[in-house]
Symmetry: C2
Subunit: 558 residues, 2 copies
């Protein structure tokens, strides 16, 4: 390591996956850089990979070891995959958190819930005002996205200007919030941009991006044609969409009722921060019970099939006194995030069983994406003309495709997945180090490393079932013939109809007397011998090799 100053970029989450964004920038001598963190997001677990886990957090071990060098944390916008980990991880970083007002409201609530002071959150001014953080000067530049006050960060460093796109799209009429401003972006790029760290989620989509303002007309027409109750679901944080839906309801003589905690929280944060004005008066679910169904529209949470959300509850039966029936309409003004298809289909089918007409965006009328498609990405490349293009926020294939696009356009495109430490300064920007980066699971209240094996063990239980065996070695070091067996997640009877647990006990009773003293005296050997007998028997009887827990009670002479 030399004392030469360098400018570095290190993704800890969000590069090589969609969700869980967390990026680090540093400037200073190698190993002594002052650091800033951009976004502290979460990802959501699924049964396939993280059963029982509450939320997935970035692995911030690297940052934690350097926390005395962190000058600030910046949050680009209030989506959970950008702000969701602030409450869980702030205690290990303890740097001031900067965000625009709407985002700050969410960050403060998260800190509060985690027992930290909300004073650590500072409401950041918008471009051209700036926040100083160590060697960095950071400006929040408004971008359009599917949530208010989303921002890119313009990060000025001694080595030049770095632009961190955040999640964005180009929307000249986003219904709520600031429209895309080509003049502002022209200014930002005017004096040269060293590196553009850019959202990649939609790089494979070659269509022009569509504006939020294209939705009120088709949504209005849809509601105008509805006979019974109308229910619509979308992401609660998409306040522009909530407004479009609510306005369309009112225009068609319907009262609006919001259902779901997140929905109400987002609208009130929108009003509190001033980004949302003119939202129609809403009824409480109770008040809404008095409104004839043809004059009512519910706007509900649960567009991704979440089992506990209002959508799912309505699909199963009545919710807060409201029940859907034949002739009602249910609109998914949303896209289904990959992985959620089965849950969403479950709700659609349950609604269909009630005779409800389910409308979704499969024909492209009732939803627009919040991310820039390929032509819009190219438009931004052309405005900023960065020397280096660093695709972020995307699976590996998105990063690779985006970097290729950059190379074709004469930029230095670098694919830097989580853990790739990139030096941006110097003549040849490149990955200079790979940091071991895993993920952290919040499991109940415990932090569990993704590679700790705890969750893998749970998945094995789910796949194979469990046989628990209790054995007793008495005061004279004699292994008793009796064992006590319990099955979990296995059929009670074998193919011939015999009780499987009893068969295992019998098999052990006949095998254990032959164990030698070395086996009986050693827990590991004894466990292994018993495990082998249980597995062999189960493979014969039920065709499975279960997990086996052997509990050995060694009695002590009194």
């Amino acid at each position: 390591m030399t004392d030469r100053n360098r400018l570095i970029y290190l993704p800890l989450g969000g590069a090589g996956e969609i969700g869980m964004n967390c990026y680090v920038y540093g400037y200073g001598p190698a190993g002594k850089e002052r650091l800033i963190v951009v976004d502290l997001g979460v990802a959501f677990p699924d049964m396939d990979g993280q059963p029982g886990v509450d939320v997935i957090l970035p692995d911030i071990a690297w940052l934690n070891e350097r926390r005395d060098r962190i000058d600030a944390i910046f949050i680009t916008h209030a989506h959970e995959d950008h702000v969701g980990a602030v409450g869980h991880l702030w205690g290990r970083l303890r740097a001031p958190v900067y965000a625009r007002r709407f985002t700050a409201i969410h960050a403060m609530r998260k800190l509060e819930e985690a027992g930290h002071s909300t004073e650590q959150v500072r409401v950041a001014p918008v471009w051209p005002e700036a926040v100083k953080a160590g060697p960095f000067t950071v400006q929040f530049a408004p971008v359009s996205h599917s949530i208010p006050e989303a921002s890119a960060l313009v990060i000025d460093t001694p080595e030049g200007r770095v632009v961190h796109s955040g999640d964005f799209k180009i929307d000249r009429d986003p219904v709520v919030g600031e429209p895309f401003d080509p003049e502002l972006w022209g200014q930002i790029g005017a004096d040269g941009v060293l590196a553009y760290i850019c959202d990649s989620t939609n790089v494979f989509n070659r269509h022009e991006g569509r504006s939020e303002s294209q939705l009120p007309e088709p949504i209005g027409a849809l509601i105008a044609g509805a006979k019974g109750m109308v229910v619509a679901t979308t992401f609660a944080s998409n306040i522009a969409r909530l407004k479009t839906l609510a306005d369309a309801a009112v225009a068609n003589g319907r009262s609006v009722c919001l259902m779901g905690r997140a929905m109400k929280r987002m609208v009130s944060a929108g009003e509190e921060s001033g980004v949302l004005t003119g939202f129609p008066r809403t009824l409480s679910p109770e008040e809404a019970l008095d409104v004839p169904r043809e004059n009512l529209m519910l706007i509900v949470t649960g567009s991704q099939g979440e089992r506990r959300a209002a959508s799912a509850a309505l699909s199963r039966g009545s919710y807060l006194g409201h029940e859907l029936q034949e002739g009602d309409m249910f609109l998914f003004s949303s896209k289904t995030i990959p992985g959620n298809e089965v849950g969403v289909a479950r709700i659609k089918n349950a609604l269909a069983e009630k005779g409800v007409d389910v409308i979704d965006d499969s024909h492209g009328f009732y939803h627009v994406s919040g991310h820039a498609n390929r032509p819009d990405l190219e438009a931004m490349h052309d405005i900023l003309r960065p020397r280096i293009l660093l695709p972020n926020h995307g699976e590996y294939r998105h990063l690779r495709e985006h970097a290729k696009l950059g190379l074709e356009k004469g930029m230095t495109g670098i694919v830097a997945a989580n853990g790739s430490l990139v030096e941006l300064s110097g003549n040849a920007p490149r990955i200079v180090e790979y940091i071991d980066v895993s993920k952290t699971y919040l499991d109940g209240t415990a932090f569990v490393g993704a590679l700790d094996g705890v969750i893998r063990e749970r998945m094995k239980l789910a796949l194979n079932g469990l046989v628990a065996v209790a054995l007793i070695v008495d005061e004279d070091d004699v292994l008793l013939e009796d064992s006590w067996v319990q099955l979990r997640g296995l059929p009670e009877t074998a193919g011939n109809g015999a009780d499987l647990a009893e068969m295992i006990e019998d098999e052990l009773a006949s095998a254990m007397p032959r164990f030698d003293a070395k086996t009986v005296m050693d827990d590991d050997r004894l466990e292994e011998a018993v495990r082998r007998i249980v597995r062999t028997l189960c493979l014969t009887e039920i065709g499975k090799r279960p997990e086996v827990a052997v509990l050995i009670s060694r009695l002590m002479a009194a």
Copy 2:
């Protein structure tokens, strides 16, 4: 029940879901109908709903109780969701199995693997020849689908003609197999159709269906432009696609190598049955090692992201000596079945990490569906003009949409999900009875009912983890203070860093001396008391309520 003869239809699988097709037709006095079975398919489990299960089978309890009345089993085509359960369930039905030659080869292999005689499978003749089965006369009418020799069944009954569509599309040039023949279908419909039981999977797709013959050109152009090795994946059973892919390879100077057991089995069944001719000579994976990569094309299994298939193996590293590298191309000539998105994305990303260009069908050039879209469904309705339309093979929302379509066109559209016994004869065809129909899981070699709780117990283990506790009640009915605790799928340490298993043992040691004799003497009470202590402690220490297995060893006086 009267002695009046009636004609009934009963779906046992495939109506209210995609996959696991199994339908029953009956004719005779109520409760004494002679029966035929159409299809015996499987569905595939996932971690979300059926962890560790090998395959999902229809619940044939109703049929099993009436097996003396079953005259025949008909299989429409060789997809697993139509033929996959023949081996597992034939032993409980024991009726002759009719199928066309290509399908029969697969049915025979399945019977053989299950230890039954292949003589139970009879190769059925094609329309206009017929099979007599009790009161039914059944003709196999060729339809286009994504597998050779797919058939509709034209079932003549004393009450009139019933047409069971099977899976189909309208393709006038299917590359392999019989093209759609409007004249034949005109004849089938000429004398009136009582009921049309019709594939519903693509009812929401309003586009014209596309022909398999539209693929050779774009696929050829794609391969012509490839520089390195080309790998393509599709369903092994889509023999027309295999031929399109292989022909395109040869036309571009590439040798073809098939990888994956299913791939080779399907091509040989195609050749054996005579439906596939002129397939290019293929190399073994070993021979292919001597071919320069720019002259080679691998056609591999695993289009759905299956972890054990050739695609996944190639994405992870080398497979049978072949390894992909920068500049190679991987084509998904397939669609991703809902639920498989995450597995497919995993493979695409792993390939992208190797620098492989991944091409899929997101722009609609390299795959066509095997199912009829809405316009093609309507075309068949118009040709057959059935009195009753019974949508099958679809989730509930598909069935409902399809039935609505039928109603709009003047047919009696009936939504009959699994277990709905429909009387087709009489003036008012309708559902007359609901049969309790579940699903059967093949778990290892055991059949487990979906409602038995076995799999639900495994899912609870995955979500909550397990604490196993061994207790001893001695010869004098005294509960020993020592307990032995083992954790599975839980963090080893509590929040304060203490060993969680030891904490539980200590907690039990201090609580158990206070248990009253009634608790100690009763296994259920004792288990419950221990479970409550363990759960309360775990909730405090790690924020989770684990599953608890309590093994009580009661020592007997010698």
